[in-house]
Symmetry: C2
Subunit: 123 residues, 2 copies
């Protein structure tokens, strides 16, 4: 159990979930935030491939399983109060389902919400 | 209402909250994750000083109000499905209550959870 030491310190919410921030390990770009449960943490540490818990589908969500836009885990970190994970990853292609590199492509600028990144061109 | 366009797009959870990731704007370091409600978003955009909602104290939490470790807002971003905020900030001093720069100071290395950053020395 690679995750034993970690799991003892994670404070899951009432639904048994913990938020996980994915950050590109070398550029520092914050790519997305999703949720993990015990099983997805276990699988991620065991395989080195990031697996979340899909709240909408109520199932393990192996990131990139259908799109090919996988996340290889570089390091898993835990915050001071144990209720948030930070995943340093190597993201293949776009992280966002809109085909943008990051899910955080809207910003408040000049008092308005603006789109600041466009989808990656299809190959 | 500087936040009107944004607030219409934010999907708050059942408690009226949305998670907010704070990232140092120039280094890319992920500092912490906390929660915001409508009022804290409004105040943050109006003042340029980051204000969260404290779930434990059930009150607005003006980051750094007692410690002096304030966060100046550089930009507020919203993710694709509107349920997570990314705050690009300029952090004064440590972001973590343990006096570390980032709250994510524990990492899984060699199958164990290790402390990878020490508290900033007191001045």
């Amino acid at each position: 159990m690679a995750a034993a030491g970690l799991l003892a310190e994670v404070k899951f919410n009432a639904d048994g979930l913990v938020p996980a921030i994915a950050q590109q390990h070398d550029t520092g770009e914050v790519l997305m935030m999703a949720w993990m449960n015990r099983d997805s943490i276990d699988e991620t540490l065991a395989t080195g491939r990031v697996c979340y818990w899909s709240r909408s589908r109520a199932t393990l969500w192996r990131k990139g399983e259908t799109s090919g836009h996988v996340q290889s885990l570089v390091e898993m970190r835990l915050d001071c109060d144990g209720d948030t994970l930070l995943l340093l990853v190597d993201q293949t292609g776009p992280a966002c389902h809109t085909n943008r590199r990051s899910c955080f492509y809207r910003a408040v600028r000049g008092g308005k919400l603006e789109t600041i990144a466009e989808p990656v061109a299809a190959k």
